[in-house]
Symmetry: D2
Subunit: 284 residues, 4 copies
């Protein structure tokens, strides 16, 4: 822990009396000052805690030492401790043809607002290559044409592995991923869904929204698991619509919601504020 | 039209060139000044218009004369004209055990804010009788116990007919109504559903919302048709929630949304701003 | 602490390393399990913590013992500990002529949703007496006519003291209170202001909002201090408006925002979630 | 009117009985079908109407003919008619150092979503030159250093005039413009202000918001007139904040609101939906 700035300790496991006390004890004995501490116990009895603390001035304490002492303080507890590394997350963005979420991410990335490095963009179309190339980021066009689903995903995976991404961001990637693919990145694939889930699961949600005559549309950023549109929800937002707007108008309005919700979710995940509790996301 | 204040003309029918022109011509020839005019043509080619106009000072023009001239100006057009009567709507409120929507309506009614007269409250429980009696409004406890669904609805209908209500407001009435009952009040039954439809159709939506881990909950006011939770949506609103909130907490928070959405919807309907276009509500 | 349910410990004072550790140590040694713990250190270095914990099954631990041990663990620290009493807050509501906030509070109170007892309603007009009497709550009409401001406030205070309220809720009380009065209830008077403060300070905010042509109106619940509309903000909310709405229309719409914001703020205060940090309210 | 698609007629002037009738009569006699018609009369008696209509199939009607007939139908009425030209608006964007609004506009422009051509970007710093150059748009760095305010504005104006812009968009241009400059573009300069006006007029609104402890921040897009932050408001939006967020955090969150509000306002203006009624913007 050479960086003198703040550190983030993530603690997770079965709840028991005294957990906060033990963790705080280890930090206190090293003179580490807690700046923010957020804790949550789920109804199922799972304990989650996010602790921001400042490192000592001389910077002599190593991460391994600290984690070792935490494990010693709570032996056989099933508690998992993680120290968030002092660097940006490594991500790859996957898209199809729509530019609004990707464009927003590229601008934020260009001005270092993402707390993440976009290592590459992967797409099944070449539509967005000109946009990506403006920002000097590798673009991989991996078409699904002439390939079955498994072959296509294998080709994508071959490209992804060279980048060793911590997170895959589906910024309007419009193909369903197989469980095989998803399982390689458990709780590490983030999707933006163009509806207020669980309303309008599946394709063409704005058409569905128009036909149902809703007065509010929304967007949902969530982790991807094996069921389409079913992983833990990280962030949602909405916008009022009215009868004058066609399905196309709603889609246009919805894009602004989608891009903001996706970037909000990424900000939460990339600052280590999101835990997974079953099928729910806990944001501390 | 003895009242010198503003009048509201509602025009509806198959679209054709010149509709606004013809209607405005009739109003103009009588020296009636248009204050607000809102018009909408649906994608299916149906024309809707709401026209607020001021009556002449001497008040000599009768509603029948005006409607007659409008029909003459547009013979065989399939256009329906309505002049909104200059009085409050007549309504009956139906509830089960929850008080929040009813309480809000009673307060508004007590201070004449509803543009409606609550003629009576009907409930399948007597829980809310003490609340209703504070406001001097008839309360009819019509239990569903010992009656099958048809018998229960028949008993309700027997009570309703004596009040001749224009609208039935389901302010958390928790039993599904049969098509037979609903058909007696086409587009005249308004329900508040405790979710952001079409998410969480059916019972226990806050439990569903909690388990799905949503970050926003909502409520929907809609007309009731034969399919449960499927009629035209009049108004919706939402509220942010988080992982700390249990299903019960969400229900508590949701109640504030429900009562406000219901009263917003009633305000729109009772000021003649809502038209029905297929399964969509047009608010002009 | 005879009640076996959850307890709330509030900790506040100058920040120092180890504060959470010491507090958690005392709780842990008594076998008390922490359910939720929220902590915040202000930029000025003030520490705030709200700890929900469950009492032991046998209920033998007294509040005095616990507070004593906490003080012993942190001698001379300037830290203040409070155990929230296991009972509803005692409040008096003050109003002028508008009913919407009061009506909402009375309904919530009637169904025990406030976590507070409304001991009495005080008003400078008798307009709302009929409403209050429906709910069997004492109503004191203390007119300001024929009295100067000091005399009027003295008469109010004479009535208030017999109720020994913990909080005074100004639910649309439209007279400015003197510093002398306010100082008798430091951080214990809660006001609903009919604008999105700090926009439109003072009287007639909806008229101001109309004339400025804003597209959103709002309401603000805040503690009252000596400067008009200047105490710590507890909660705010907003609503979209448009050019069609007159100042009167905006006021009507605004009332729904006002009553919901006030009740949200009261809920936060009455569940001991609000701390004061200078002129800011910290909600844990 | 060679384009067969929809046309937009804007009508504005002193209200009088029959205005809609006369305008509709002219359109009807040319067989023009009205798709949407929105009309508003301000409290001051000013009439505004926006009429979308479809042109005849053969496209023989000229704009001059139509406008001529409209004037003939309403002689000496003081009514102004405009037919919105069938082309994108011509705009110049002015910025200082912040990229978020500009970046958003550039992405929208690159994908033809603005209904406007960004002819050039003008800045008093060269910070954003690299961003603008990615999109192949002229960037003019016109420093204010070594120039007094009049000289600086004269240099800007010299650059602007060559582009003949219809609108100047201040996308976080952080210098106050003189009345002399503003008067050259009456109701044609659009600014994004980083607060929920009229709260926090002037500089450093997020610092002010933090210190006031507000629970909601916002942004305002408005036309610029001679008084700083005082022109007609076109669009506003807000976002919840809390005590944990510093002034810097609020500024970060606020940027997302700013960029969305600015683009919403531009969309309204560039689709001819915004009229000016005194100091209020009417959006039809």
């Amino acid at each position: 822990m050479s960086d003198p700035a703040k550190h983030i300790l993530l603690t997770e496991g079965p709840d028991r009396t005294g957990l906060i006390y033990y963790v705080m004890g280890v930090l206190f004995r090293h003179g580490l000052n807690v700046i923010h501490n957020n804790e949550y116990v789920s109804p199922a009895g799972h304990f989650f805690m996010r602790t921001e603390f400042s490192a000592p001035v001389d910077g002599t304490l190593g991460a391994d030492t600290l984690l070792g002492e935490l494990h010693t303080a709570l032996p056989d507890s099933g508690i998992v401790f993680r120290l968030s590394p002092q660097r940006k997350k490594r991500i790859v963005v996957m898209v199809t043809k729509e530019h609004h979420c990707l464009g927003d991410l590229l601008i934020r990335h260009a001005f270092d607002e993402l707390n993440a490095d976009i290592l590459a963009v992967v797409s099944n179309y070449d539509t967005l290559q000109p946009l990506v190339s403006k920002f000097g980021i590798p673009f991989h066009h991996i078409s699904h044409e002439g390939r079955n689903r498994d072959e296509h995903e294998a080709a994508i995976q071959q490209t992804l592995v060279q980048y060793m991404p911590e997170y895959i961001v589906l910024a309007k990637y419009m193909r369903v991923l197989t469980p095989h693919f998803v399982n390689q990145y458990p709780n590490r694939i983030i999707n933006i869904h163009h509806s207020f889930l669980p309303a309008f699961v599946g394709a063409n949600p704005y058409r569905q929204a128009f036909e149902r005559g809703v007065k509010i549309i929304g967007a949902t950023a969530h982790f991807v698991n094996n069921d389409l549109d079913e992983g833990p929800i990280i962030a949602q937002n909405v916008k009022e619509v009215n009868h004058r707007q066609s399905a196309t108008d709603m889609a246009t309005e919805g894009r602004d919601v989608e891009k903001i919700v996706l970037s909000q979710a990424l900000k939460l995940v990339f600052t280590d504020r999101v835990f997974i509790a079953g099928n729910r996301a806990v944001v501390l």
